[in-house]
Symmetry: C2
Subunit: 416 residues, 2 copies
Amino acid sequence: MTTPWAQRYALRTHSMSSSAIRELLKLTQQPDIISFAGGLPAPELFPIEEMKTACDVVLSEMGARALQYSTTEGYAPLREMLARHMARYGIKVDVDNIVITSGSQQALDLIGKLLINSGDRILTENPSYLGAIQAFTAYQAQYVTVPIDDDGLQVAQLEAALRTGPKFMYILPNFQNPTGVTLSLTRRYDLIALAEEYGIPIVEDDPYGQLRFEGEHLKPLVTLDAEYEGCEGNGSYTGNVIYTSTFSKTLAPGLRLGWIVAPKDVVSKLVQMKQGTDLHTSSFDQMVAYEVARGGFLDKHVRDIREVYRRRRDLMLQTMEETFPAEVRWTRPQGGLFLWVTTPESINTTELLKEAIQQKVAFVPGHSFHPTGGGHNTLRLNFSNASEDMIVDGIRRMSVALKQQLAPQSLVFPVH
Amino acid sequence: MTTPWAQRYALRTHSMSSSAIRELLKLTQQPDIISFAGGLPAPELFPIEEMKTACDVVLSEMGARALQYSTTEGYAPLREMLARHMARYGIKVDVDNIVITSGSQQALDLIGKLLINSGDRILTENPSYLGAIQAFTAYQAQYVTVPIDDDGLQVAQLEAALRTGPKFMYILPNFQNPTGVTLSLTRRYDLIALAEEYGIPIVEDDPYGQLRFEGEHLKPLVTLDAEYEGCEGNGSYTGNVIYTSTFSKTLAPGLRLGWIVAPKDVVSKLVQMKQGTDLHTSSFDQMVAYEVARGGFLDKHVRDIREVYRRRRDLMLQTMEETFPAEVRWTRPQGGLFLWVTTPESINTTELLKEAIQQKVAFVPGHSFHPTGGGHNTLRLNFSNASEDMIVDGIRRMSVALKQQLAPQSLVFPVH
């Protein structure tokens, strides 16, 4: 049923993409389907007992403060802890460079709200994170894309895209969503130099950087930029990068807690935007998360998550090796939550999904992750959420679906 | 210090108002100042023990669900409870007419994001809620205003404003922020008829409607509109009003929980907007709020809040009668959190605030609540947050400041 409202918002939603992730999340709720579709963390690792203790401490000792209105920037002890925590990953900034957001999805929305005017071009990797595309498209963004390979963004192809004058580049350097690939250190240096040369800023989205299973941590773009600009380590970052991360993959997504690191003048504008958007993020959740995370628990917990996800990734890769048709290729991520599958061109993965659902397994077709179209023979698999048994069963079901689709069609549907 | 970013967001923030509420909230944190500035509920009424129990129940029985990603619409049992709860205030809608938001501030942001295009005119009461003006201005709204009196919006003056073609009307019918006045039932009927005649929808903001201390509950605009449109009571509201309310004034603002009631096609678009904005509101906070509120606690708790706030209002009004200069006038709200003071034209209340801070008392100057300017001799007082002793002391300090400002200036500062 439509109401007289439809005509009133026609303009504002004309370019919103169909809500692919959301419709697929509904599928994952069917109990007999093994879903590799969502980007869900493993719920059995949620720190439930620590949350109980933290809620009790926060409510007993600071209850009135936790339940009252608070400042838009976020809970100061949490921001101070984040400054210390990020320093261990090479990001050395002041507490004034940090604003707490309602998940990193809100970080992307606030960045879009601050920077994007109707028709502005945003440069993204191809494919890129669907939630970012949704966030930016709400502000009527257009897209220019640069392909990726096993070393991430193909920086050699960047200049042509930069010459189109994008408002900013949106980059996921670590275990990228959806492909799982990581931007090499050489390319990071090249990217920072080109950003400076063309005067195009970078939005660095890093939800998974702490979840590296093997190999060496690579310096974040915000750190390399601070070194390049000569403003590192002095707590007054004034560079070219807005960095965002989240507690969703290390504590719990249900709390909706993320953060932005940016130059102080940008933080001040983002805070002004956030005030009009939701006043502030739940003070209770911020204080509880601080109580859970502090005193070394977060680092220990992240190590536990890495170990479980590494085993799941290994098992998924091994089962794919054993069962997938030879024509199918896939990435081998060094961390994160996802890997990326490329099928022969003859397969359309949206059609494959229908077959997969028959086999009681689900994934996300790759097409939606391509802001400028394409990717019909690609798909994303999540390895963090399913148990080891389900990973083996689910991948076997996937391989049945793949073989069905690769079987000569004339045998199944006679041409007529 | 500014960075190269400044030029990049120049356009997006050129019309953002200065952050008056935020700067003033900082003042309220000075411990020796009695603040009537914020819109803060009484923290001593927060249901801290009930929250503790609820956190324990939620984490013990549904921990993995509370900490995981969830659906954008919100926690179904909470939405069902809201449908039942609102029915007792005359709003009879389906659960599908309801979306949970991160406070009603986010409701205003999502409505702005859905409906406002750059340069669109929004019709507001004059004065109106500063947070709404901030939310809408972020989407480059312009304003057309209609004055209010003790019966709320002067509907007799509405038609001229409607002829300018506003995108929607933003109305606070109950114990309006900032003035505390309530729209009379006669005017509500007239407003609904004019909205229909001119085809201009209404955004009804009702954070305080449950906090009526005396007199009869008046039907909300969404209810009158459903009656007018003949779609009431059948659970398929298709009318002309988007209604929003919040748990901030009845449970706790720190949880950032509000909701929107709208026709189902509008809800579906708002959900799409919200997904790109923050995926969903904290599942943990939603489930905890449901556990606290259910089983009749919310109704009982609201009765307790009404009783405390009524006493505080009475004491504030009585102390004002006893101490304020005769030239000063004020409203006598039947509920809510605020009252509104009009001083003689000779006083500029921003100047008065400086004097008041000397006297260790704070309020919000009325100017910022006027989207199209004016109101230099008005101010807002909050009576919900301060204890009874503080109300008496603070109002006495206010009267000292007022008398200072009203004293013949030549005696204080010789003309030279």
